[in-house]
Point group: C2
Chain length 138, copies 2
DNA sequence: CGGAATCCTGACAGATACTG
DNA sequence: CAGTATCTGTCAGGATTCCG
């Protein structure tokens, strides 16, 4: 009886109810889906590494992103409180982005998944090769 | 100089190189994208909670999944070594799925993100309301 | 410079039908 | 029961153009 929801295995002794509010669950799932998004993760990393950056700079540092997705992703991250967006009313425009405390904490939370993936990727690759071999045999 | 990659902030003192192999990075990113997939996460949870299950049972317990996506997702998870698939050669067919050790460890790895999301969802919702209010004002 | 608006396509999800 | 095959629609996301 263990689940990926912390309510069922939380090492902290906190009294999280076993029956998680389905509304909360749905919300949390949505949040995870968003933060696990390709561009969100990349931008998160770029901002972690470089601190405050301007729009175009993020675009250059985020390999392969289109202007549309950059705008869209940054908006979403701003909306969720992960990045702060400061507009300097000058000509030409200057907009600076940086991670909020919430953004940094998100980054830290994902660190565990990164460590897991880095530690186990060899097992995954092995599993894939084994799977290939199995299916080639029939 | 901090990133979401553990190489830059790993609390464990292990000697992970600061310059992560870009190939590995791409792989890890792909893995995360997959495991963060909606159905993958749901099935992961269902199997954690119920142990070994048959194809149809997983379908019933995974609200809203189509039979196509169930097959597809289970195949992928089997390919990556997260679930084992045992076919009993009887009539009618009987196929049993269960998590492997790798699957359980994946589940555990994501627990941290769940805890983060559960702990911080109020902040995110507040940020969203503030964002709404801000944009309503102009 | 930092976007917004528009158009377009291809990948992927859902529904349906068939099968060992 | 546990799939496969096929068709179709939707929609995320790229390219392009324009604007304060």
């Amino acid at each position: 009886m263990q689940g990926i929801k912390p309510s069922m295995r939380s090492p902290l002794g906190r009294e999280i109810p076993d029956q998680v509010d389905p509304v909360l669950e749905e919300l949390v799932r949505g949040i995870i889906a968003q933060v696990a998004d390709k561009w969100t993760m990349l931008i998160l990393e770029v901002l972690e590494e470089h601190g405050t950056l301007r729009f175009t700079q993020i675009g250059k540092l985020t390999e392969g992103i289109s202007q549309k997705m950059l705008t869209q992703t940054l908006r979403q991250m701003e909306r969720d409180g992960f990045v702060s967006r400061i507009v300097h009313p000058v000509i030409p425009p200057k907009v600076e982005y940086s991670l909020t405390e919430l953004g940094h904490s998100l980054s830290a939370a994902f660190c565990g998944v990164w460590e897991w993936a880095a530690a186990r990727h060899a097992d995954i690759e092995a599993a894939r090769r084994a799977f290939e071999a199995r299916n080639r045999a029939d």
